[in-house]
Subunit: 304 residues, 2 copies
């Protein structure tokens, strides 16, 4: 009976990748390392960042087995390489590391735009590695390695964009993502960029805009806007505190879908503006009642 108890004790889960390399130790990179360790998904984590300060901070935080400054060195022997840098930097990074990767290894990224990443990375991919773009729908307004959190991905979607990659490679990668705590979903790049333009990029753009409007107010009014910010504005400042370089890259790399959604938004805003100017109460009430339904759908979908 004792023997049986021992053998039925939960065994350590088999690692999914023996060695992984994470390039870029911002919020997403550091959180991936922490979550992978928490889930015992990997044997060895190499983290890498071009910024010496980030390297030093990451070594102190100790979320990786080693932290290096050279990306080519980081990826040698890695079974999975994760590019967690701003989308504008993906192309140059891939060009640098792909030749140093071992045959059969998987390369992924965590970029918020997918069409531009494909455009920039596809041309430098070699036949002997598996290029499997992805995007975790997770984040906070905090950035840098100290913002890392082992539970960041719990219950959050992680989109995978498989193309010409053997299914067992995709399935293994998805089991890694599930082990990080996330829920996987396959999507093509065009559709991803359209959905994200409205769910993420446009809300960020609008939040940046309204906070920017406040920045330009005269001092007294600006101070009072800050002081009385709890009435709605505060939520926007949280979003508008997100990483400037990451978001700069998102907008110029998903410009087509963002500009299309922005056009629709501007038309809808003009409609409301006109209704306010002319005191058309019925139009306002009808529209505000319709938007309430969307909130109910989100609660029903368990996304609240």
């Amino acid at each position: 009976m004792t023997a049986t108890s021992e053998t039925t004790a939960t065994p350590d889960q088999a690692v999914i990748y023996e060695k992984i390399a994470i390039i870029g130790v911002g919020l997403i990179g550091a959180s991936t390392a922490l979550a992978a360790r928490r889930g015992k998904l990997v044997g060895h984590v190499t983290a890498c960042d071009a910024d010496p300060d980030a390297v030093e901070t990451s070594r102190k935080l100790g979320f990786a087995d080693e932290v290096v400054g050279d990306a080519k060195e980081a990826v040698v022997d890695a079974d999975l390489v994760i590019m967690a840098v701003p989308v504008g930097a993906m192309g140059a990074l891939a060009e640098l590391i792909v030749p140093a990767m071992k045959p059969g290894a998987v390369l992924t990224d965590t970029g918020s735009t997918k069409r531009s990443v494909l455009r920039d990375v596809d041309p430098v991919i070699s036949d002997d590695i598996h290029w499997l773009p992805s995007h975790p729908l997770a984040g906070t307004e905090h950035s840098g390695p100290t913002a890392g959190h082992a539970h960041l991905f719990d219950g959050r979607y992680w989109i995978v964009v498989p193309r010409d990659v053997p299914d067992d490679v995709v399935v293994r990668f998805e089991s890694f993502l599930t082990g990080l705590g996330s829920v996987t979903e396959r999507m093509d790049a065009d559709y991803h960029d359209k959905v994200l333009a409205l769910t993420s990029h446009l809300p960020h753009l609008i939040a940046y805009t309204i906070v920017s409007t406040a920045v330009d107010l005269e001092t007294q009014l600006k101070n009072d806007v800050i002081r009385f910010s709890a009435s709605g504005f505060r939520d926007f400042t949280r979003i508008a505190a997100s990483d400037p370089v990451m978001w700069r890259d998102v907008f110029v790399n998903n410009d087509e879908a963002v500009l299309e959604m922005l056009q629709r938004f501007s038309e809808d805003l003009s409609y409301l503006q006109r209704a306010i100017r002319w005191g058309e109460k019925d139009k306002l009430e009808t529209l505000f009642t319709r938007t309430r339904e969307i909130r109910r759908s989100i609660i029903d979908a368990g996304q609240d």
Copy 2:
């Protein structure tokens, strides 16, 4: 020593108003009743609503000593009358109840706009009552009497707009508001409406707009926007689920300040739109870095 212990036991705080009447048992009205009881600030609470369902629900919830349907009946003998109805309904309500109020009583309101409430209520005020407009900067996306919460006002600002009212009347009212848990602040109506236009009204208008944009998407895309809403859009849907009638009234009654702020916002949005279209990364990064500072100011101001 025993006698001393007894006399130094905390005495019940003296009530601030013997009788109060709350007209309108939505989120704010119900929460005011609950917080007043919690703080032992009043001897008797009469609640009132024109909607028979709200009256019945409020009776079941039991947050007031009595709940009636007739506003004139509710205000007789009240030392403080609180009008907690949509701002578009304040004028007609005041016209109805002021003649029934007892001399020396205080009349206040909780409306989100102050210039329009003064415009509508001032003409019907009689010399023997004290008219002291106010506005609690508190709320949630939930509405109706069941949304009431005894701690809704804890640490939140409650703006008071005193004009031609004896200072001791204002101070007593402010001690009542402090007893509810709030922090009081005096302000004039014009300035209030300007500050709120940016901190509250414009954010709500924008949230309503972006959710409205989503409503009009084709079905598949709309469903996926709901499904992947956690990336930013979800925060907007929460704001856009607020009470339609209350907000309809806010926009048409603070149209001047809202349209001015909206004009500034639209200019700033066009600037960003152009920067995205032309791939002007420097402009975007500079602006996103500036907006981050505002977030820091809010955290420094303890408004986070």
